[in-house]
């Protein structure tokens, strides 16, 4: 379990990182916290010739509260975002969901944008971004940046809309809407495991946005009417995601969780109070 040889680069600017990406194409991989990539390298599931470490790029290290969103730069770790003062007011869903990401040790290294870039279908941050309708900001070597909506960014298992010569510079999480409630529920085998099913909800007075992670090949969010009986809509959602059996859970179980936990989450209940506090450790 030793990686194949690679050249290690530590670009000091976005431009330099993008130049390197352009130059080395598919032979290069970006690394920030390395919480997924290092395992992949060690198991030789990828043997890139170049590793571009963006941790040294100073101006990627920021969390900014702007008019309608919280911007998180590509250098920010998950632990830093979780400790951001006022996170629970600014983006309550993140405050609920992030304690479920791995363990505090992995959150100390893993970055927010790294998780978005990796696009694991079970990961919490892509689910939050998709449910909130956030955006990903990418930049290329010409300094040109583009913004992509979360639903267009995530394209499949570990697959995103990022082009080979682009660097994700930040992600934008929309700020809490007045009057909206934010809820999160996850079922995993152990604390910190990949979600079997993760559900995130934004509940407004007349509508609900429900996000589902761990089931389809990417995080999915749907809008449902608030006051109608959600059973049918939840059943349709459950069946629409192409749930699969794996070693830990069956497809039918996943669908059932979407139906039953989805209903609980929309209704709100004691468990949501518990959740808000239980996994803060």
């Amino acid at each position: 379990m030793k990686p194949a040889a690679f050249d290690y680069w530590r670009p000091s600017s976005r431009r330099e990182a993008c130049e390197l990406l352009h130059e080395h194409g598919d032979e290069a991989r970006l690394i920030a916290g390395g919480q997924s990539l290092m395992a992949v390298l060690n198991m030789r599931l990828a043997q890139p010739k170049h590793l571009l470490d963006i941790a040294g790029i100073e101006d990627l290290h920021y969390i900014e509260r702007r008019d309608d969103h919280l911007a998180v730069g590509a250098g920010v770790t998950q632990a830093e975002l979780l400790q951001y003062p006022g996170l629970a007011e600014a983006v309550p869903l993140l405050a609920l969901a992030m304690p479920w990401i791995g363990h505090w040790q992995t959150r100390n290294r893993g970055t927010v944008c790294g998780s978005i870039a990796h696009a694991d279908p079970s990961a919490e941050l892509p689910l939050c971004l998709a449910t909130l309708g956030g955006q990903v900001v990418l930049e290329n070597r010409r300094g040109k940046s583009r913004r992509v909506m979360a639903e267009d960014f995530f394209q499949g298992v570990l697959t995103t809309d990022r082009r080979q010569d682009e660097l994700i510079t930040e992600v934008r999480f929309p700020l809490a809407r007045p009057g909206a409630e934010y809820r999160f529920r996850e079922v995993a085998m152990r604390h910190g495991d990949f979600a079997i099913v993760a559900l995130a909800a934004v509940v407004d007075s007349n509508r609900v946005t429900l996000g589902v992670g761990g089931v389809a090949d990417r995080p999915v969010s749907r809008e449902l009417a608030r006051h109608a009986d959600p059973s049918e809509a939840l059943n349709a959602l459950a069946w629409s995601l192409g749930a699969e059996d794996d070693a830990h859970a069956t497809a039918a179980y996943r669908r059932q969780l979407i139906r039953e936990l989805g209903r609980e989450l929309i209704a709100g209940g004691p468990r949501d109070e518990e959740n808000a506090h239980a996994r803060q450790g």
């Binding site: 379990m1 030793k2 997924s36 992949v40 599931l45 298992v157 090949d217 192409g242 699969e244 070693a247």
Partner: protein, 996 residues
């Protein structure tokens, strides 16, 4: 015999039985442990990496290591050819024409089976070279499921045996036929115990040298014993025992039985060092470990009880099949026979029929694993007791009580031969009930159920065997075969104590501890006997077969330390004490019985006479001339101890398989979440009678550790295999071990009934909860859900399925679920899809047959070379996200039926594993001069990628296969392919707030 009486403590240190903190911990907590990987290696040591099979079953057609040898830093490659020249297959416990070599020589029989070893200047270079070795496999049908493997038409692992059942024995004790005939009730159950492992933190490490001058091997490995395997290794290496020196490091990062399984690698790396002409170091990585190191034996059991109206079990019928994986590796089939004498558990059941079959399958070979043989027995027996209570409408605790071995009947000879040494089982159960608060728990269940919650209570009693009879394994042979082979029995343990010229006490034991704190307890025992301060005693637990006292029973297994090894330490200490007492008595002209040893002094009772221990002991070195005539001088005593109760199996197959039998009474309360199926352990009570406790802190530590592993086995741990034999639990994200967050603190209760058979009255206690906890939790879940069929691990998905999932129908048009994944989440994927293409079916057909098209539509195809009619060799890089693998692939078009259809198939291997698949393509003309292409595909991946990527494999395969046909559509006319499933789904949910 138990010679130690606490009454003798008067005037002594009281060390035995004290809660003494471990003397090992200072170093370990400061990172100063000396594990095998920390030890200095000889200059010029090469690093080894092992090439492993990605296939579960394949014939080895060819292996070419020359490209690897040409790589920089690579010194040598050991292959099956070398092994055939220099070694022999490992001896096994049953007589069958099958061979297990340390490297595959003709076939590979499980995913992860070693094929070759690369020796290079670094592990990095060695792993680089692994990818360069070219192996030609001819894959064979697999036998993976145990039940399927023993069917008459199953593919055979070892053809010469003629069956995958390599051992079958029938046993009969008492008069079971009559008992069943007279039974008022018969209660039967069929259960399966899955594969799991106790997964030590430190994996295998081997440092090997070969000395051509003396034709001898010198190997250091974190091997845990039993040292009976030293003979197995020496025979495989074709050297006498004294030309194979095996050493162990000072510290070990855990074993739990697993490091018994390092022995094939000891032989392999010895041969590797010989091939390289240099010392070789190998450190197993986690993927290698989970995939190929060892596993507990999975078992299928049919069990039936003859039961009286009031719940008294008069006879048992056992029909068991053990699945030992691809090879019967020593000491298998010991999973059966370690527990054979005590098959009736803690119960007085006199009549017994047993049928034991050992099956081989295309899975990792099995071996020792903490609790060895116990979880399999108790899962069947204690689930059955719970079923008896349910079916007869009795209280499960009452059924247990009515069947326990009665008080006052010890030592008790169980039906199959176990001599249960001591205890009072009924009293222990009552103690557990009162001290554990059962009343409260029962009330809690009442309340919970009234509130509509799913709450259950489970009970288990068990006897915990310790100090294995080295002869038990011969129960696998018929009495006839045993007579021919000669008797095997006993269990010799050894300890050596020496006192230096300055009066300093050193001890050596051949117990190879794996983290349990043996040094602490050895020092406690010596301090007790010699009256010297604990911290002054130096205990060495490294074992060197070239220099130390050892025997075949040496090592760390069957919980033998406290009963056997500490007992031998006691005996050696008594020998030293008695010699010193004799010397002191002569000097002072007093009776030796008046001499006692305490607080570093040698004292004559009822007198003023005393001298420092060191001065008296030093005299044996400095002034041997002053010693009594029969005193030889110097001070080093070795004790060898073997208990007479460990006899060979008798002609009726009765076997006292262990010397000691502790008693366990567990109960627990669980609550099951109705929606998620998650099992929350509310309370767990575990009572142990392990004889005299030498250090209760260490005992509690053992109980906690075994409990955590038992809980893991109950709720989450399982080695899973695909139907094709692919291994699916290659990382700790796939093989789930409970962390401290998931493990509640059990209430631990003790009771001490000394064993009459061990020198200190102690018994083993390290494995009990591995045996009792899984079934105790299972019984509680069965009680909560009111169901009979419980299979471990009780994952949320499985439990929720047991509760019942009544799915509302799939709404019309939603999520045409096109994938039909293999049962059990296999790595095989079958699915169908279609695309609409411009042009006629004939045009599409012709395009597909064009090599240029083929190269263009296969994602990541760098080169395509014609190798036969419609057959190609392709160099393909396949990737998803950050993951990439370069495959050397065969691609073929077959079943040509122009213009209606054809089959496109491919198979390849890469550093990441193997992949194969084929798609049956049908072409149909549709409106507008277009063609609809329907395809059904079937794909499978094996090797590393299946082991570590299971969670995403299906989606990833679907994505890659989908790309082929999307590219075909583009090539046919640049038309956009039909909307993907995904896009169609998105369309279903219109009105998405303006973002769609």
């Amino acid at each position: 015999m138990n010679a130690f009486e606490p009454a003798l403590r008067e005037g002594q240190s009281g060390q035995i039985g004290r809660r003494q903190p471990r003397i090992e911990d200072d170093a370990l907590l400061q990172g100063r442990g000396r594990y095998a990987d920390d030890l200095a290696v000889a200059p010029g040591t090469l690093h080894a990496a092992v090439l492993r099979s990605p296939h579960a079953h394949a014939r080895l057609v060819g292996l070419d290591a020359s490209p690897a040898l040409a790589m920089p830093g690579v010194h040598a490659v050991l292959t099956g050819e070398d092994v055939k020249r220099w070694a022999r297959p490992f001896p096994v416990g049953v007589r069958q024409p099958m061979e297990h070599w340390c490297l595959a020589v003709d076939k590979v029989r499980y995913v992860g089976e070693p094929l070759a070893v690369v020796m290079a200047e670094s592990r990095y270079l060695a792993e680089d070279a692994l990818d360069a070795i070219r192996v030609d496999y001819q894959t064979l049908p697999v036998a993976v499921d145990t039940e399927a493997a023993i069917a008459a038409d199953a593919p055979l692992l070892h053809e010469a045996v003629g069956s995958n059942v390599v051992s079958e024995r029938h046993f009969r004790y008492g008069d079971p036929e009559q008992a069943f005939a007279e039974a008022e009730h018969r209660v039967a159950l069929k259960v399966r115990v899955p594969r799991s492992s106790c997964t030590p933190m430190e994996c295998y490490v081997v440092l090997a040298e070969y000395d051509p001058a003396s034709a001898s091997y010198d190997v250091l490995a974190n091997f845990q014993g039993p040292y009976a395997l030293h003979t197995v290794m020496a025979r495989a290496l074709k050297v006498p025992g004294n030309r194979f020196r095996l050493r162990t490091p000072p510290d070990s990062g855990g074993s739990f039985g697993i490091k018994q399984g390092v022995f094939p690698y000891v032989v392999m790396m010895g041969l590797a060092a010989r091939k390289a002409g240099a010392p070789v170091k190998w450190v197993e990585d986690r993927l290698e470990h989970l995939q190929g190191a060892s596993s507990a034996t999975n078992r299928m059991t049919e069990i039936e009880a003859a039961v009286t109206r009031d719940g008294r079990v008069t006879a048992l019928y056992w029909d068991q099949v053990d699945d030992c994986g691809a090879y019967l590796r020593a000491p298998e089939p010991a999973t059966f026979y370690r527990m054979h004498g005590n098959l009736t558990g803690a119960y007085a059941i006199r009549h017994l029929v047993v049928r034991n079959r050992v099956a081989l399958t295309n899975k990792t070979p099995t071996g020792l694993n903490r609790g060895f043989g116990g979880p399999q027995i108790y899962f069947a027996l204690e689930r059955l007791m719970q079923r008896i209570a349910v079916e007869l409408d009795l209280d499960p605790l009452e059924v247990i009580r009515r069947n326990l071995v009665p008080s006052g009947s010890f030592p008790y000879r169980a039906a199959a031969g176990a001599l249960l040494d001591s205890g009072d089982y009924p009293a222990a159960v009552e103690q557990g009930i009162h001290e554990g608060g059962l009343e409260e728990l029962l009330a809690h269940r009442e309340t919970a159920r009234r509130e509509g919650r799913l709450y259950g209570i489970g009970y288990t009693v068990a006897v915990e065997p310790s100090i294995s009879n080295m002869g038990y394994i011969t129960t696998a042979m018929t009495p006839e075969e045993r007579r021919k082979a000669g008797p095997k029995n006993g269990a010799v343990s050894t300890a050596t104590i020496s006192v230096g010229p300055l009066g300093d006490v050193s001890a050596h034991v051949s117990s190879t501890p794996q983290g349990q704190g043996h040094r602490t307890v050895v020092a406690q025992v010596i301090a007790e006997v010699l009256g010297v301060p604990l911290e002054s005693i130096s205990v060495n637990v490294e074992l060197d077969t070239g220099k130390d006292a050892w025997s075949i029973a040496s090592g760390n297994y069957s919980s033998r330390f406290s009963g056997a090894v500490a007992g031998a330490v006691y005996q050696a200490a008594v020998k030293v004490r008695d010699r010193l007492a004799g010397i002191a008595a002569a000097q002072w002209q007093v009776e030796a019985s008046r001499i006692r040893f305490a607080e570093g002094q040698v004292i004559v009772n009822d007198s003023e006479l005393s001298m420092p221990f060191g001065r008296l002991a030093g005299a044996t070195h400095w002034a041997p001339g002053t010693l009594p005539e029969d005193e030889p001088g110097g001070l080093r005593e070795t004790a060898f101890w073997s208990p007479p109760q460990l006899e060979a199996p008798d002609d009726d197959d009765r076997i006292n398989s262990s010397l000691c039998y502790g008693f366990i009474f567990d109960y627990c309360g669980v609550e099951v979440d109705r929606i998620t199926g998650q099992v929350r352990l509310d309370r767990y009570v575990t009572l142990h009678d392990a004889g005299r406790l030498l250090n209760p802190d260490l005992v509690d530590g053992q109980v906690r550790g075994a409990f955590a592993q038992g809980l893991g086995a109950a709720l989450m741990e399982e080695f899973t295999y695909g139907d094709d034999g692919s291994f699916q639990s290659g990382t700790f994200a796939d093989y789930l071990v409970p962390t401290s967050v998931e493990v509640p603190e059990p209430l631990i209760l003790h009771r001490e009934t000394p064993s009459p058979f061990t020198p200190l009255g102690a018994k083993g206690v390290g494995e009990g909860n591995n045996m009792s906890t899984p079934v105790c939790i299972a019984n509680a879940v069965a009680d909560a859900l009111g169901i009979a069929d419980i299979e471990l691990p009780l994952t949320p998905s499985k439990v929720r399925t047991l509760i019942g999932i009544e799915e509302p129908a799939r709404p019309q048009g939603v999520g045409e679920d096109q994938t039909a994944p293999a049962a059990g989440g296999g790595s095989r994927l079958t699915a169908s899809d279609s695309v609409t293409l411009p042009g006629s079916p004939q045009a599409v057909f012709d395009t597909l047959l064009d090599p240029e098209t083929l190269q263009a539509i296969i994602p990541g195809c760098h080169a395509l070379e014609l190798t036969g009619e419609n057959a190609y060799r392709a160099d393909v890089t396949v990737g998803v996200g950050m993951i990439r693998a370069r495959f050397d692939a065969q691609v073929a078009l077959s079943d040509l039926d122009p213009p209606h259809g054809l089959r496109l198939s491919g198979a390849g291997t890469s550093a990441m594993g193997s992949a194969e698949g084929s798609a049956q393509i049908r072409l149909t003309e549709v409106e507008g001069g277009q063609t609809r292409l329907d395809y059904d595909y079937d794909a499978a991946v094996g090797g590393k990628v299946a082991s570590v990527g299971g969670r995403m494999l299906q989606s990833a395969s679907r994505m890659i296969i989908g790309q082929i046909f999307a590219r075909l559509a583009q090539r046919m006319g640049g038309a956009a392919p039909r909307l993907s499933l995904w896009q169609r789904l998105k369309g279903l949910f219109a009105g998405r707030g303006g973002r769609s």
